[in-house]
């Protein structure tokens, strides 16, 4: 779980904070929370695809 948290944080920081400024903008914050949900969604899609492929 700790490792998953770090992966999501690193991936989302990479995609959402491209030009770091003096504070996190509203858009960056929104992008970060969306990113957490989307990453989990991506994990579910891929988990399903792997199950299907192995059948």
């Amino acid at each position: 779980a700790q490792e998953f948290f770090q992966t999501v944080r690193d991936k989302c920081f990479e995609k959402c904070v491209t030009r770091p400024s003096t504070s996190l903008s509203g858009g960056e914050s929104k992008c970060l929370t969306n990113c957490c949900d989307r990453y989990r969604e991506a994990l579910a899609i891929i988990s399903q695809a792997v199950v299907t492929s192995l059948e």
Partner: protein
């Protein structure tokens, strides 16, 4: 044990396919992002077999 191998594979594929398929995160994944993710995972497994076959027969 199988569960751990499965989870590790899914984590690795999500890492790779996320970078290949997803743009700036918004309120939902688009249809093309979703199918890219799904295809990416399946094609990675196909590619593994191609590479494995190549390693086996040289």
């Amino acid at each position: 044990r199988h569960k751990a191998v499965f989870n590790e594979l899914v984590s690795k594929l999500t890492d790779i396919c996320w970078d290949k398929c997803v743009g700036t995160p918004s309120t939902r994944l688009s249809g093309s992002e979703q199918s890219c993710l799904s295809n990416c995972a399946a094609r990675f497994l196909d590619s593994s077999q191609v590479v494995m076959a190549k390693f086996t027969k040289g």
